[in-house]
């Protein structure tokens, strides 16, 4: 049999599956078989293409046709038009909202033009459930090369030279971390993969595990070889069922090929990997808390030192790396440290995956070289702000990071620049805010998350964040004073200085950065009792414009609390003391006689 003439790549990530991409695959296979085309066209379930905004994604190869928002009903159309007649299905092509024209070839899409995919290299390219496809795409070659050609020290040197830094948030040099773990002698050592992605809005680790699980397994084995460990554990949150399923399949296949287990590739190196489930606590992304959770203890951090490299899981030397960090390793080994270090900025090498979310046109997953500017990410790749609104700020680093504003748009993104700008890289979540977002409410939102996720071990984090949240709440209720703004600042600094772990040390960051960049907005809330963005309900006031009101009584009838009074054909009045600010009256009024002030 000859090879397939066309490959139809259907995204099997969590997002696209939620929109029935698995039904599309099933139906496509059935229809192709019915038409005797199943030997010409291969249907491939892949990992995430990153363009989650317009899922499910179906990409036709070799002509790179990129179909978006495909439904099971479109299957026969794709077969009849694209596969049989060779005509693109115009209605399914991606239409660039800024140019207003359909883009027939994904290579020309602004979304992909600036991306360099290293960690995501196989996402959307191979079927994650078939180890053969991974091997065909150079899979396990890096492990083989390391075992055959390099000593553990040489391997660590390559990683050190590459300049790779931890992608989980801290940005610690990975090679150095491996070296520490290698230097500590012990009868047993562990390699741990941190797949406890807890940052709201970030889903790159999940997508890598779903789209290319073998790359993480391979990298863990390489790490095991460098530090003298024979056991790897992936700590993954139970909320990621698809990633867990694909990891199980990948581990099973790797064991069957002998790429995990005893005597790998005949070199005498033993390494195996198991999974450990977490319950999805944010604090367990902190490595000491993660290790305690793995030991069956409460997920609480402990003071470092001792670092896990000396005494980690079960008191043994342990190296913990994040999923994205691991996913970079095989590519670095195969292409060399110089190749990797040529990408990026002086102190931040390689690429970084970002999860774009919020008020942005192209919500999704992107991978760009370090040093790309925020403007490029948000306006070129991300396609700009939704509904043509004005950009206000972007939160990077999730609840641990800070917000960046218009003046930072041309700052090259890397670990150090973000820190200098009062934010941080974090795991790569980017939440974009537009003119309708209230910064006080945003700060409160992030604090709500940290209050919920604080483990409660140390007082500054447990009590301090709670107090911060209360103060912010007071301000959004319109009861704040100027003194509260001072209090926010002072409290934040104390919490940062005195908390035990990264969670508490960074949780006031959103408050501090928003206070700094949007002080006027905070001031407006406390002194003028006004929320410019119109988000803080307590500060809103619905008012009937006397000149416009015709007395049709529509508003009075729709009001759920009966706070609008007035005779027929006469001007109505809202009783502000009863009004719950639901806005129903404003929606109902046909004469635009109700305004929000």
């Amino acid at each position: 049999m000859s090879e397939y003439k066309m490959h139809m790549m259907v995204c099997g990530g969590t997002g696209c599956r939620a929109s029935e991409s698995d039904t599309i695959v099933e139906k496509m296979k059935k229809e192709l078989e019915y038409r005797n085309l199943d030997e010409d066209v291969q249907v491939v379930i892949t990992g995430c293409f990153g363009f989650c905004e317009k899922g499910p994604i179906v990409k036709m190869l070799p002509d790179n046709t990129f179909y978006t928002e495909v439904k099971p009903d479109n299957v026969t159309e794709i077969i009849d038009e694209h596969i049989i007649k060779g005509r693109k299905v115009q209605s399914l092509l991606y239409v660039d909202p800024n140019k207003g024209q359909a883009e027939p070839d994904s290579k020309h899409m602004d979304f992909y033009k600036k991306q360099i995919r290293i960690a995501l290299r196989n996402c959307g390219f191979i079927n994650p459930e078939v180890v053969d496809e991974y091997i065909a795409a150079d899979g396990y070659e890096a492990l083989g090369k390391v075992l055959a050609d390099y000593t553990p020290e040489q391997t660590i040197d390559i990683i050190k030279q590459s300049g790779l830094r931890g992608r989980g948030g801290g940005g610690f040099p990975t090679g150095l971390k491996w070296q520490f773990a290698a230097q500590n002698e012990a009868d047993k050592k562990y390699v741990v993969c941190n797949a406890d992605e807890g940052d709201p809005g970030a889903f790159m680790d999940r997508s890598i595990l779903e789209g290319d699980p073998h790359s993480v397994l391979e990298a863990m084995a390489i790490c095991g070889y460098t530090m003298g460990s024979d056991e790897g554990i992936i700590y993954i949150r139970a909320e990621y069922p698809l990633a867990i399923e694909r990891l199980h399949i990948a581990i099973k296949q790797a064991r069957e090929y002998g790429l995990l287990g005893k005597n790998i590739l005949g070199t005498g190196f033993d390494f195996d990997i198991t999974l450990r489930y977490g319950a999805g606590a944010f604090v367990c992304g902190e490595e000491t808390a993660l290790i305690h959770s793995m030991e069956g203890l409460r997920g609480e951090p402990t003071v470092k030192p001792p670092f896990p490299a000396e005494s980690g899981y079960n008191g043994k030397p342990t190296n913990v790396n994040n999923v994205e960090t691991f996913a970079n390793i095989p590519a670095i080994i195969l292409k060399g440290a110089e190749w990797f270090s040529a990408i990026g900025t002086e102190k931040s090498k390689g690429t970084k995956v970002f999860a774009l979310a919020g008020k942005i046109n192209n919500v999704g997953l992107i991978e760009v070289p370090m040093g790309t500017t925020l403007r490029e990410v948000i306006f070129e790749i991300g396609g700009g702000i939704k509904d043509g609104k004005k950009f206000k700020a972007v939160q990077t680093g999730g609840p641990s990071g800070g917000c960046l504003t218009e003046k930072h748009l041309d700052t090259p993104i890397d670990f150090d620049n973000l820190l200098a700008a009062g934010s941080m890289m974090g795991s790569g979540g980017m939440i974009v805010m537009d003119e309708d977002d209230c910064m006080v409410a945003m700060a409160k939102f992030y604090l709500e998350f940290t209050v919920e996720e604080s483990c409660g071990k140390c007082a500054p984090c447990r009590i301090g964040n709670k107090r911060l949240h209360e103060t912010l709440d007071k301000i959004t209720e319109g009861k704040g004073t100027l003194h509260d703004l001072e209090l926010l600042k002072n409290m934040s600094n104390v919490i940062k200085d005195t908390s035990l772990c990264g969670l508490g040390q960074t949780s006031p960051n959103p408050v501090l950065s928003m206070l700094e960049h949007f002080y006027d907005e905070f001031l407006g809330h406390v002194s003028d009792h006004k929320c410019e963005a119109g988000q803080c309900k307590s500060l809103l006031k619905y008012n009937i414009i006397e000149e416009e009101c015709v007395g049709c009584t529509a508003c009075a009838r729709v009001c759920p609390v009966g706070c609008i009074s007035g005779e027929k054909k006469e001007v109505h009045i809202i009783d502000q003391s009863i009004c719950i600010k639901c806005g129903a009256c404003m929606d109902k009024c046909k004469f635009n006689a109700i305004e929000l002030i």
Binding site: E3, H7, P62, D63, K85, G86, D132, I135, E141, G258
Partner: protein
């Protein structure tokens, strides 16, 4: 499944498996391989473009030429269907008219393999805005 016992085994396996995803790799970098675009609009199909398309996909693989055969829309030379555009890396694209299986064979053997020009080339009368 048989165990992969050595790195040499792994590499052998990879070279055998690579053909399965070769098409995807070529699609990533179409400039680096021979691209054959068969005009498959109504007029093309009516004069046998489909047969030519299948012939190219199969024969290129059989003759071990790393190439990419795609179906494209009408190229505007309806009088000379089936028309086939051939892009060899580093050379200007060339459009052949009246391509049948016999002609396709000549295109592969003479033009793609040896770089010799053939009869039936349609002179370029347009500029592609994509290139």
């Amino acid at each position: 499944m048989a165990k992969v016992k050595t790195l040499a085994d792994l590499r052998k396996m990879k070279s055998e498996l690579q053909s399965k995803i070769q098409l995807r790799e070529n699609a990533e970098n179409p400039e680096s391989v021979v691209q054959i675009r068969v005009g498959m609009a109504t007029s093309g199909i009516a004069s046998g473009a489909k047969e030519v398309y299948h012939y190219f996909t199969e024969e290129m693989a059989k003759r071990n030429i790393n190439g990419l055969t795609t179906q494209v829309g009408d190229m505007g030379y309806c009088y000379a269907e089936p028309t086939v555009e051939v892009l060899v890396p580093g050379k200007d694209p060339i459009v052949f008219g009246y391509v049948d299986v016999k002609k396709a064979d000549q295109i592969i053997e003479k033009y793609i393999k040896q770089g010799e020009l053939l009869d039936g080339i349609i002179p370029p009368n347009y500029q592609n805005i994509n290139e």
